[in-house]
């Protein structure tokens, strides 16, 4: 298990309890904070219906129990209901993670009949202006309609709002919106700086004062609302002095399958050099989870360097995030530089410092997640 160093335990990790099926990178939205890879345009051949069903069967046999249907926009797949039906029959708890676009009366009913357990609808903001700006679409009114549809069909509903400098000051209105839509849960998820969000970091990273204000308002609403709406406030790790326990440890409980069948320990790991990630078209889930070098690369503690190697907190945070370590220090085995103890912490604190200025000139324009932009990144590789 997590933090253990004994060879016998390291060779038999627990089951991949959480399976995230990124069905497609196609998406009608163009969110500037999207966590999909910049070069998603090079991913062409999506797994077929039958290939996904095999993935679900094999993962379930290993003990996977939570299944997220994600993307891109999973509603872009015409076979979504068939996939949900298969997963439901296997005993998965089925979560749909959607922008809401494509979810109409007919399909929502079809998914209910297939056994879908829960729907998470994303909003970019509580106002039409910012929602539509951040997603570079006109989707706000549609999302409101979809959220009402979700509740009227008896689904538990999570509203997810990714917070950034551009919307975090609307926190009270965002919570009001979740209450008005009768959401069961509200995820106030500060942007994590991967993919497109990393590219746009100087536009998106809020100031400390903004974050403190948002937390204060959220706590006040918690006291007021009681158990009526469960709220999760995901603290931005750039403002923590210790790293997040990313994925609860590499290859510990989380398995991500990308649209082309690539098996990854997280959504972002595709970027890490020197690792040959296995593909479900060539390997079974059991081989991938138990035998692939990529999935054992950062399991346990043998890979750790100082300051993590001798740190008493390594069993709690596993050294943080490998992708963040790679992006900010050039080596995935370094401590996540969010940590104050990291010799590279300056890479984070400098970005944080820049974010404290009220009016800043950011020279690079905000880049929206669009296919044309992605194609340019593929060309540049």
């Amino acid at each position: 298990m997590a933090g253990s160093n004994s060879p016998s335990e390291r060779s038999r990790p627990g089951p991949p309890l959480w399976l995230l099926a990124e069905l497609t990178y196609r998406c009608p939205l163009h969110c500037a904070y999207c966590s999909n890879p910049l070069d998603f345009a090079k991913v062409e051949e999506e797994l077929s219906t039958e290939e996904w069903k095999r993935v679900f069967r094999e993962a379930r046999m290993l003990g996977a129990v939570q299944l997220g249907f994600s993307g891109g926009e999973p509603m872009m797949r015409d076979d979504l209901a068939a996939l949900v039906a298969e997963a439901h029959g296997l005993g998965f708890y089925c979560n749909l993670i959607t922008s809401g676009v494509g979810l109409n009366e007919v399909r929502i009913k079809e998914l209910k009949d297939a056994g879908l357990d829960h729907i998470q609808v994303s909003f970019q903001d509580s106002t039409k202006e910012v929602n539509d700006f951040l997603s570079s679409t006109r989707t706000f009114e549609l999302k409101l309609k979809v959220a009402r549809l979700v509740k009227s069909h008896g689904y538990p509903m999570v509203l997810n709002v990714v917070l950034s400098r551009l919307n975090i000051d609307h926190i009270d209105k965002i919570i009001d919106m979740a209450v008005a839509l009768d959401a069961d849960f509200l995820e106030l998820a500060n942007t994590q700086y991967y993919g497109w969000a990393y590219l746009n970091r100087d536009h998106l990273l809020p100031s400390r004062a903004q974050i403190e204000h948002a937390e204060r308002v959220t706590n006040a609403y918690r006291a007021k609302l009681g158990g009526r709406l469960k709220m999760f406030f995901v603290v931005p790790d750039y403002y923590s002095d210790r790293p997040k326990a990313c994925m609860n440890g590499w290859g510990s409980v989380f398995l991500n399958i990308a649209p082309d069948g690539l098996a990854l320990p997280c959504q972002a790991a595709r970027m890490l050099p020197g690792l040959q990630f296995p593909n479900v078209r060539e390997k079974t889930i059991e081989e991938i989870w138990h035998d692939s070098p990529a999935f054992s690369a950062y399991r346990g503690e043998d890979w750790m360097r100082e300051p993590c190697r001798s740190c008493p907190e390594r069993t709690k945070d596993f050294g943080g995030c490998r992708c963040q370590a790679y992006m900010l220090t050039g080596n995935a085995a370094n401590a996540d530089p969010v940590c104050e103890l990291s010799p590279h912490h300056r890479r984070v604190s400098e970005a944080v410092e820049r974010a404290q200025t009220v009016q800043r000139a950011v020279t690079q324009p905000l880049v929206f997640r669009e296919r044309a932009a992605s194609v340019n990144f593929v060309r540049a590789e």
């Binding site: 003990g63 129990v65 708890y93 979560n95 069961d184």
Partner: protein, 92 residues
């Protein structure tokens, strides 16, 4: 929250699903993007929270099944916690 009385009929809220997991050799409570692994007694209580069974009957059943006595306080304490976590509601 109102006091839990022996006549009340506890029910698992519809957001939650109780399920046996072979791989974990445990009963688990599943909910949107989350899971709680239950210990034996917790699972035995939750399995009986069907919205029709009165708390007093539920306790009798547990005591009979497990050859125990005096379980009322333990069950009451667990249900109080389960209500505060949002797992349980009471049928009218």
């Amino acid at each position: 929250m109102a006091e839990i009385t022996p006549q009340m009929q506890p029910a698992l809220r519809s957001v939650y699903r109780l399920q046996w997991e072979d791989a974990q050799q445990a009963w688990v409570l599943l909910y949107p993007e989350g899971m709680v692994r239950l210990n034996g007694p917790a699972a035995e209580i939750l399995k009986r929270c069907d919205g029709r069974t009165q708390l007093s009957t539920l306790v009798d059943d547990l005591e009979r099944t497990f050859g125990a006595t005096g379980l009322h306080n333990d069950v009451h304490e667990f249900l109080t916690e389960a209500v505060s976590r949002g797992w349980i509601e009471f049928a009218e």
